[in-house]
Point group: C2
Chain length 529, copies 2
Amino acid sequence: MDMLWNGWGDPAKAAPLPDTVTGLLRDLLGVKPRTTPVLALQDIDLPAPTADQAAFKALARAVGGEEHVRTDAESRIRHTRGKSTPDLLRLRAGDASDVPQAVVLPATHDDVLAVLRACAAHGLAVVPFGGGTSVVGGLAPQRSTFVALDLRRMNGLLDLDPVSRLAVLQPGLRAPEAEALLAARGFTLGHFPQSFEWATIGGFAAARSSGQASAGYGRFDEMVLGLTLATPEGTIETGRAPRSAAGPDLRQLILGSEGAFGVITSVTVRIRPLPEERVYEGWRFASFEEGTAALRRLAQDGPRPTVLRLSDETETLIGLAQPEAIGAGLESNAGCMAITGYEGTAEDTAQRREQAAAVLRAAGGTLIGSEPGERWAHGRYSAPYLRDSLLDAGAFAETLETAAFWSRIPDLYAAVRTALTDTLTEAGTPPLVMCHISHVYENGASLYFTVVSAQGEDPVAHWTHAKHAANDAVLAAGGTITHHHGVGTDHRDWYVREAGALGVEALRAVKGRLDPEGLLNPGVLLPTD
Amino acid sequence: MDMLWNGWGDPAKAAPLPDTVTGLLRDLLGVKPRTTPVLALQDIDLPAPTADQAAFKALARAVGGEEHVRTDAESRIRHTRGKSTPDLLRLRAGDASDVPQAVVLPATHDDVLAVLRACAAHGLAVVPFGGGTSVVGGLAPQRSTFVALDLRRMNGLLDLDPVSRLAVLQPGLRAPEAEALLAARGFTLGHFPQSFEWATIGGFAAARSSGQASAGYGRFDEMVLGLTLATPEGTIETGRAPRSAAGPDLRQLILGSEGAFGVITSVTVRIRPLPEERVYEGWRFASFEEGTAALRRLAQDGPRPTVLRLSDETETLIGLAQPEAIGAGLESNAGCMAITGYEGTAEDTAQRREQAAAVLRAAGGTLIGSEPGERWAHGRYSAPYLRDSLLDAGAFAETLETAAFWSRIPDLYAAVRTALTDTLTEAGTPPLVMCHISHVYENGASLYFTVVSAQGEDPVAHWTHAKHAANDAVLAAGGTITHHHGVGTDHRDWYVREAGALGVEALRAVKGRLDPEGLLNPGVLLPTD
């Protein structure tokens, strides 16, 4: 099963918009039905590959056969950019200017090393490709002659240590495949990001993914105990112990390196027993401020639910807290909805649920019951499908995210909302801006914003302008430029400001040592100049 | 209050050996009373400084006055090497060959930058110095013309954010000072390593310290949310959010860098409310294997005590699980002693204690009661004082530590014991080798070994040989070369093997960018050639 080439997911899961939403888009945001024709994949004009046949032959030798070097139009288009809304809109408009020369499919770590040698010899850049779900331009290098290194053949569970609770996974494993392999042995990884259906283990590590159950299972980078990295200069192997005082943590240098330092060829992860029970429920708070204080209390003093989310007033009103119920019952959606989830043994689940309920009640929350929780759980991966429908209907929809220490959250929230609302209103497409907290820590939390507006004349240009204003606002308010989407090319200039000139220089020194010819994801994460 | 120049701590806390121990040393290990005379600090011959007066003047300008550049013999000797047993034995034998040219005391981040400039101009290396408690040669650079950069004037609490539960601490704060400043505001850091009385915040960060309450409060590197680093090339500031997907984690590149990349000038740490209660108790298991399985159960499935330790049969027999009771009641010390501790609110403490007790009982443990726990807590910092007494009595005593995933712990334990026993026995000084687990994780644990033997002809040479064999055994059995002591110069060659050639090259690239002239701790952590 492949994703839609010009959208998110499985066409069979398309989510048509309810009439209430179509009416809302029209009346509230001035969305007009699209008038431009829909392009088919076959209609896309591709630039012909400029690499010579010797290069393709060298790549075929590297990966054990010509059938693993694909140069057909469909393969190339399916490896063009990622899944941000601008990515989709550009492709829908027929712009395939970031297309790779070829798609190369290695089967082993040594294949990857051989591909890197072949690319060095033939002047080709390399873009590691897992699920292709980047929403930050992480698959759009600043070089026109590159190959996509699709890791789908490296999709095995290599080892499982039930005593240490560790599994060694290959990078091309999609999350559902990984969960199925682990479940057969009684374990789970517990990593359930919105991209779950398509994204891969290697991508999670390379971009520091964080899943919807991060309150209980941790972020992906917290699950990683070891990594193998293939670079043009050789191999790095890390991770002999859960924690060590042996120097800087090399794992943390590879996590978040987004393919710019090397290709992750295996990931050793912490695993946990499959939960006996999974319970989700809904809570209501009078305001985002009250709900935020309640979440902070649980994050700091416990007990920690496995899932902990809070939608702001607008997101609650629209019903996006439960994407499958969107638009239903607007009148009853007052205040702010929170979702709590508990996964574990029956005993542990019951105890945490009872104790967390006491904390939430004391903080002003009202239990609405399990129905909103189960509805959230059922629709937890559906928001990107909804985006497809919104784009089809002529609306614009996109998300962005950040994180900060708790004391900065109120100002950060206000600053980003204002930046988005002001710039898009000025552009003639006043938006609906919604927000939720979906990842909590003792010392802070994430903020995840969803923006819906009319497309207007030039939606990509409008959004780029608004997004830049939001990025500036994030940095000015003390947030990080990304909590879990990654840097890619879209966040790079703000990332440079966040890390500081010398911090970036230190990382460029690492890249210079591991990838001296700059073959790996040029322009992703780090500037090329 | 300064430490003993040739020992661990406050002379007032000296721990004389009970007669039973003296007898044991003589009868079991063949320890003979020392015959060599005791040197006084005044007896030590120091090489005169070779740096010229212009250099000292430049340093005085950098730190605001000549009184902050100390060149007297006592200051220099007190900044010579650290506190490993070989360090102490060398100094006791009058060998001050690693003495700094001067001790420089900066008061601010800008002072540190100015010192680095002055040292670059005058060809002096720089060794950042906190509490001086390194036991891995972290203060003995491979250059004879260096200054010790003592951070004791930078000992303030710069900021405290009670909402986010963060504090900004200066690097020269000793742990008890930091705890006192935080306690005045109702908070604790919860970091209580054996070096607590002397070690500093900057040192904890630079060497990835881990405290005795790490099961509850985490390791020091897990407490760090932000760092400021002064380097010869400028400043790096990190940490805008608890977690971020903005590239590799620069904090994790600074943590564990042991002064080789720069000088840590501020540390933002997670803080927690002062506990209402602190309860410690003792448990007994039939064997180290049974006790290890019990600890693993708590580490993996909870509830997690705040303190969780397990001594092996030998350590339990000798009574080192409670250093202040050493040698008392050998006959009743059968099996393996574990210590559990609970700190927090009264309710939380009671609940965790009850639930953990059920787990420990089911795993074969017998509660001995609170007396051994309280005795452990009372003597928790006394082992290094005991070492002073052992050295005075003519015995040799030293420790080493490692960590690994749970499934490797039994082999690692056996391999290190065998390596130490075999090499020291061969050298004519058969040792007593004791071990405990003092830090647990979901996926593994630390092992901490204590070795006591007769000094023999050349204790430093004997130990060096034994320690190298133990290091080889650690790597061969899949452990990390250090769990919390750090790399320094003593572990460097094994660290290079553990990190791998290319991993080390990546870190050398970072050092090359931040410290191009190699002024900072040359030969510590990374090889100089």
